[in-house]
Amino acid sequence: MNLDKDMQEALATFITESRELLQDMEAGLLELENKENPETVNAIFRAAHTIKGSAGLFGLDHIVRFTHVIESVLDALRGGNLAVTTELVAALLPCCDHLNSLVRDVADGKLEENQDMADSGKPLLAALQPYLKTPAATETGVVYRDHAERVGTIAGNWLLFLQFNENCLRDGMDPLAFISYLTTMGEIVDITTFSHAMPDAGNMDPESNYLGFEVILKSEVAKESIESVFDFIRDGSLIHILPLENRIPYYVELISSLTEDNAQLGELLLKSGVITQRELEEGLNAQQAQAEVQQSPARIGEILVDRRVVQQPLVNAALDKQKEIQNNKIRENQTIHVDAERLDKLIDLVGELVISTASASLLAMQARNTALREVNAEIISLVEEVRDSALQLRMVPIGTTFSRFQRVVRDVSKELGKDIKLVISGAETEVDKSVIEKIGDPLLHLVRNAMDHGIERAELRTAHGKPAQGTLRLNAYHSSGNIVIEVSDDGGGLNSDKIFSKAVERGLVQPGTALSDQELYALIFEPGFSTAEQVSSLSGRGVGLDVVKRNITALRGVIHIDSAPGQGTMMSIHLPLTLAIIDGFLAGVGDASYVIPLDRVVECVELPVDDNRDYMELRGEVLPFIRLRQLFRKNDSVSRRQNVIVVEHLDLKAGLVVDRLMGELQTVIKPLGKLFSHVQGVDGSTILGSGEVALIIDVPTLLKQQGQSSLPV
């Protein structure tokens, strides 16, 4: 047999697939031996069925023949007509092995059966023979059996109800001839004749037809083809073609495996082949007719069942499938999973677009083209909207993160033996997804810390006149371009004395130093700092709060502590809403521009007289300078008037000395390439409307360097 390239590829797939299926079959059979499970039987049956079907496609008749026998046994097993026994499994396992050899032969290019294999296969099939039902009993159909039993055991697949119209005989149409014709499409397994419509002898017109037939047909043809047999006799006749009861599971499975986008019930039934286009159209017409006369017409499923076009279980299966599809759609509507990278790419592009439009409007202004400027203004506003919605895409409500803590609080309360409730507010506050991802761990630390150290034991609480149940609050809100997340408890508050003595003990502060509350509280974020007398499983090991602070700083955020003795503690985290975009302040040094994150900028002042000092006096305080010109080694001439931008981070303050102040702008951060990862003091870059690149100043790092370098030697 010669196969072209496509077929070769398909055959390779068949071989791989069959091997996998055979492995599954073997595993399934071994499992069955230990525990009978209908699911496993089904899986094994499907595997055999698939192998048979695929082998048929390639004309591998010997495999089809061999597998067919196995399939029949498995079918009996599936139908409950056969019980799993050790002997049966023992008979089936070698068949799997044999199939494996057959498939291997195919892989070796031997597409035809060879005699050796055929010989070794025979005893295997013979061993299965006792498990097979004798086909004769089912096919002669002469012995009267109860209807249900008959349908259950007969190996047909279509059930035809035929009640031809009364005049068909006069019109020269003989129902028996039609039934006879059915034998060209398949095998008639059984016929039952119904004569209840026949009137008594006096009224019976011998030329009228009164007979009805129930035919069980075993045929591989489509329902359409069977239906077409009755095309000429359909008028006035009752013709129902239904999948046989025992085939219903097959169609149910088929329906549930359909991957239709179109969730119309009728379409699903049509696709699975249990109804025909005509039946569907008639059903729909009937539905429409009903709709014209009554308010609520029957569902199409009900109509189809009423019209005996399809059975209820199949409609149910289709309905389930429909629901599943709809659910999927709803789920799809609710959320789409998009690679964050793609979103970043989009935001990046939109950022570029903002820049391009800015330069376009600049040109328009230079060209003094009013019409062009108007159009440009329109474009800019649209682009800004696009950018906002692009950024919005990354925004998610913080509620999902918050609600995770319900469980945490419940579990931790139990562990600690404290009664603590969690109150969540501001759950709808939106924040950039990348922020959400990174805020979970720090929040967890803070929550555990508050529950362990903050909230007192019930006895102590009642002694202090507080409700026995402690309250932990999680709150979030937006505040001038930042999101503020608060973790607060109604516990004992921070013990200043204890923190101070601990700090002295650890050599963090000199004894007798006067510290503000904020400075004191900030000490608890020092690495390894813990005031807990008892190390619990949750906290008190001094690991945590310093990590929290590091994480939050990495997000360009800050953390504040407010505490009142006996009333509780509130930790508030201020974070930028998004990591991709910042409000910046643009400043120029020489011919270069720099962006300073606006939330770090306190104020701008003019540099009074530059006498090359490294500090100035600002309202009675000494303000150290950071000269960007020196920092970035720009050697061009110093402009006559220089300005100082006062920046602040965590109580560190400094003045950035620049040439020009160019105002605020919102800008998209472009990360610097890996090449520049070692560069300190720069956070990223952005592209200005002029096309110029501006560096974004990393204020915290600069301030830290400044603080270190200005330490008294």
Binding site: T140, G141, V142, Y144, F164, L169, R170, D174, P175, L176, A177, I179, S180, T183, I188, D190, I191, T192, T193, S195, M198, D200, A201, M204, P206, E207, N209, Y210, L211
Partner: protein, 99 residues
């Protein structure tokens, strides 16, 4: 035992005539036998006539049996399976015909 042998075709073309014939025959006795051996062709009309006559016989408490001694195939190959309507004896006869 009264016996009737139906000759020729038992189809819609002869149905009216056969109906009268069969109903008349029904009144000739209490034990009746219809011989179908000489039926050359049968269709739905013929079949339902046979069903009718069997029903009428049963209703009036008469014993009616069908016989078919000839192995000639009838026009409808699946006809034997229709035998259920005729009771076990006839089934056997029809089934016999199938061979």
């Amino acid at each position: 035992m009264q016996s009737l042998t139906i000759e020729g075709e038992l189809t819609v073309f002869t149905a009216a005539y056969q109906k009268t014939l069969l109903l008349t025959f029904l009144n000739t006795g209490d034990e009746l036998e219809i011989n179908l051996s000489n039926v050359s062709e049968i269709d739905t009309a013929g079949l339902q006539l046979l069903i009718l006559i069997k029903r009428e016989a049963a209703q009036s408490g008469k014993a009616l049996s069908f016989t078919m001694r000839c192995k000639r195939r009838l026009a409808t190959p699946e006809l034997p399976r229709l035998g259920q309507a005729f009771g076990e004896q006839a089934q056997a006869t029809f089934a016999h015909n199938e061979e």
